[in-house]
């Protein structure tokens, strides 16, 4: 997925990533996922709307990931072949998922929604971002050994 050859292929690479990020972040704002309270409403069974966000998005990516490889053989801006997001399964998926779940249930915040939350003016979310960077750092130092 990554390599020295991947960037600089096209001057449109970063602008396109920016446009994709804007659509992604707009969706998180519009769906109110950038508000931890609304995520907690789902986890506490008072508003099940989050299911429509996650599955709505997964249906769109599912269609895109299935159809685009049939239209073209490689991505126009990088020359990269189209693949799917398939990661190997091991017990880390369960352990990490459980740790993630405790954090998500406690705070109502996940990485993408935290970035979007800054955009809607939620300066308080910096606490969560500091926590996420610290967590990723601790895990990375531990893994690098």
């Amino acid at each position: 997925m990554s390599g020295p050859d991947m960037q600089g292929e096209s001057p449109l690479f970063l602008p396109l990533v920016l446009v994709g990020g804007i659509l992604f972040g707009f969706g998180l704002g519009y769906s109110h996922m950038a508000r931890p309270e609304v995520v907690l409403d789902f986890l506490q069974f008072t508003d099940f709307g989050l299911l429509f966000v996650m599955f709505g998005a997964a249906i769109v990516t599912g269609l895109g990931f299935a159809l685009i490889p049939r239209l073209r053989s490689a991505a126009p801006l990088t020359g990269q072949e189209y693949t799917r997001r398939l990661k190997s399964f091991d017990r880390n998926v369960l352990i990490g998922g459980a740790i993630f779940g405790v954090g998500w249930g406690l705070s109502g915040i996940c990485p993408g929604a935290a970035y979007a939350s800054l955009g809607i003016g939620n300066i308080t979310i910096l606490w969560a971002l500091v926590g996420m960077f610290a967590g990723a750092y601790l895990q990375g130092v531990w893994r690098s050994r």
């Binding site: 704002g29 769906s31 190997s88 993630f100 954090g103 939350s117 003016g121 939620n122 926590g131």
Partner: protein
């Protein structure tokens, strides 16, 4: 007589804010990922940004392997913030801040940061892109964090920590 598929009172209880905002927002999230996929072949999740950005300040091998990823991931994250700001300016019309206590955000964020890296993905990587790829690993990952998060949030509510 035609019987409603879903009783309106049940619908109101499950979806007090309706479903349109959620479904429309979800489609935009998916579109953002598909636009990047079409142009670049990259399947973008949100949480690798944490590690790739740490490669600017730490020489740990775990972060350095994302060195070639880190610039575009910053642009992606800036895009997410800008996109949400467009919603904030034109729809929300005012700044919005959370009432969730800072200590919960900090500790929750810490666990999210650790968990997403051990577990190979977050709500966008596993939840949107992985499920969209029909990946069994991602489906198991989503089920795991969803169930644990529901249990945790129910406990928080039972202990009457609000909101």
């Amino acid at each position: 007589m035609v019987t409603e598929l879903i009783d309106p009172s049940v619908y109101d209880a499950l979806f007090p804010e309706g479903i349109t905002r959620y479904a429309v927002g979800g489609v935009f999230v998916g579109l953002g990922a598909v636009v990047i996929y079409f142009g670049t072949g990259i399947i973008a999740g949100a949480s690798t940004f944490l590690e790739s950005t740490l490669s600017y300040v730490s020489d740990q091998s775990r972060f350095q392997r994302y060195r070639y990823d880190r610039d575009w991931r910053i642009v992606f994250t800036i895009g997410i913030i800008l996109g949400a700001a467009i919603y904030g300016i034109f729809w929300q019309g005012e700044l919005w801040t959370t009432d969730v206590q800072p200590v919960r955000l900090l500790v929750g964020g810490l666990l999210v940061g650790i968990g997403t890296r051990i577990g190979k993905g977050c709500t966008s990587g596993h939840g949107v892109c992985g499920v969209g790829s029909a990946s069994k690993t991602s489906i198991v990952g989503v089920m795991t964090f969803l169930l644990v998060a529901i249990g945790t949030a129910q406990l928080v509510m039972a202990l009457e920590v609000m909101p």
